[in-house]
Amino acid sequence: MKTQRLYIQSHCTIRNRSIGVNGRTYWQGDPDASLSDFLKAAYRGLAIDYPKFHKMDGLCKAVFIAAELLARESGPYATDTTLVFSNYSSSHLADERHARDIHAGDEAVASPATFVYTLPNIVLGELSIRHRLHSENVFFIFDSFLPEFLVPYTETLFEGSRVAGALGGWTEVTEGRCDVLLYRIGTSGRIPHTIAGLKKLYNEDNE
């Protein structure tokens, strides 16, 4: 199968209360902060201005920040940038909150503001709104980050020049674990978009 050579143009990781861009530490939070305090501090510290951010759940907040930094790094996203995202825990943070709310005995009450975030692809909608993307979105659930699937799958999206770019994401965000890798894919760049290339990005520590 002949496919176009694709490259990773920039990437952002969020792990252990630390944000990295292209392999370098970009912002360091308090290692002991809760997830929500960490994300709020990062939003302020990175001078992001988007009031809707405060309504989002933790998954959307973390991914939103990463996508914002990649726009700073590699410029605005093309409107047809396709989104290929995956994680293990789906929308676990919002699921937990909604389940707790409705099983609270006499106090039980469901909140639409929580319920709407109980779908993993809501983050794709948030990114599409923020970056004005009219494009194809898909959210897969895997046991772990799976470049062996994602690399060939993403290549098929570029066939026949259907799209100019893609944004890939492994977005595992729970109270106990924040493991985010977002990466921009295009037809030019430095790091080849290969299984080995993606594994290296996922496993590397920031300098």
């Binding site: 993993p120 194809e136 979105n137 898909v138 897969f140």
Partner: protein
């Protein structure tokens, strides 16, 4: 030129019964699956829902207690599909599973008797895979209410581009739980009567349960239906409300039709949830595409909104409509109820049918349109 991908087999399990041909006949007889239900496990108030009766199907398997209700429903449906079409379980068969929430009803319910971890979608998919003996791990798609349709498109793409697979099984399903019912109640999206898609007096949606499964192959069999074109675009407008201009759906349809070679359409199987905004958005998008005069139905009036199953369930019934040369009426519709007019199907007339368009839209602003063609 990429090889064609065909739907060569299908199966449905719903409150109406089992078997897709059987379902097609039930719809022709005007059978509707929803009923007013008062069950404190779902809601403190009566809700009109279409729920699968457990007594009928769920316990017909070995070690039933080791599997959640939803897993048992998936397993039963897939067993029937595998047996009927003699589907190989080896690694050259891809299985794509579509669900919005899987076993989420287990959360904060220790009395259900399953570990918390079982609510993770890949854990559920793994349990089903191992029970049935498929060699390849399932691919799980969770993309709100377009999951079922999107899973068909993902399977098609992998069959066309990857040398790893010869055939694919696509299965979609969700079950009703307090988790889901309370959320839709909080959105005030539920009708207190059987829903009326596209009707002037529509009051909202009904939630429903179904498991739908399709068998996809690169080799057409007798009566096979080709996936002729797919388009999927986000509205980039709102995370829970449909776009007023129907932008994402409009782009999806345009793309799907163009990919299919701009065929003339015999009917449209719309998403048609019977909420005020969804149906209005679809009417706008269809008319922007010049499709306001194409016979159109929503099948939500028969099954309610079956979430992760809906796109696949409604596609399968559209395929049976093509094979039988008979339109399925849009039950619950009486009077034109959208600002822009649609040609809603009210009679199950017989006529030659070759091509239909299936659309779906969901939270997160996602939309998908797929063209299916027979012969």
């Amino acid at each position: 030129m990429r090889p064609g991908v065909y739907v060569v087999g299908d199966h449905i399990l719903s409150p109406l019964g089992k078997g897709s041909a059987y379902h097609f006949e039930q719809l022709a007889n005007g059978k509707r699956a929803m009923a007013p239900t008062l069950d404190p496990a779902l809601s403190d108030r009566p809700v009109v829902i279409a729920r699968i009766d457990d007594g009928q199907w769920a316990d017909e398997l070995a070690d039933a207690r080791r599997y959640t209700r939803l897993e048992r429903l998936f397993i039963r449906t897939l067993q029937e599909l595998i047996g009927r079409y003699d589907i190989p379980l080896h690694s050259r068969t891809l299985v794509v599973l579509a669900t919005t929430k899987g076993n989420v009803g287990l959360l904060h319910r220790p009395e259900a008797g399953f570990p918390h971890e079982r609510a993770n979608l890949s854990v559920m998919a793994g349990a089903i895979q191992r029970y049935l003996g498929f060699e390849a791990p399932f691919l799980t798609v969770s993309n709100a209410c377009i999951s079922g349709s999107l899973a068909i498109s993902v399977a098609q793409r992998l069959l066309q581009h990857s040398e790893r697979y010869d055939q694919a099984v696509v299965v979609g399903g969700d079950e009703l739980s307090k988790f889901i019912v309370s959320g839709f109640e909080a959105f005030q999206a539920l009708a207190n009567e059987p829903c009326r898609p596209f009707d002037r007096d529509r009051k909202g949606l009904n939630l429903g349960e179904a498991i739908a499964a399709a068998y996809l192959s690169k080799v057409p069999s007798d009566g096979a239906v080709r996936i002729a074109g797919v388009g999927s675009y986000n509205d980039a407008n709102h995370i829970s409300g449909p776009s007023r201009t129907g932008e994402g759906l409009y782009r999806s349809i345009r793309h799907a039709l163009s990919a299919a070679g701009d065929p003339s359409l015999d009917f449209i199987s719309a998403h048609g949830t019977a909420t005020a905004y969804n149906d209005e958005m679809e009417a706008v998008a269809f008319n922007r595409c010049g499709l306001g005069n194409i016979p159109t139905h929503s099948l939500k009036g028969y099954f309610g909104h079956t979430l992760g199953a809906s796109g696949l369930l409604e596609t399968i019934l559209g395929i049976h409509s093509l094979r039988n040369g008979r339109l399925i009426p849009s039950v619950g519709f009486h009077e034109q109820g959208t600002t822009e007019a649609l040609n809603i199907i009210t009679d199950g007339v017989s006529l030659p049918l070759r091509t239909f368009l299936k659309t779906a839209s969901g939270f997160g602003g996602c939309n998908i349109a797929s063209v299916f063609q027979i012969g």
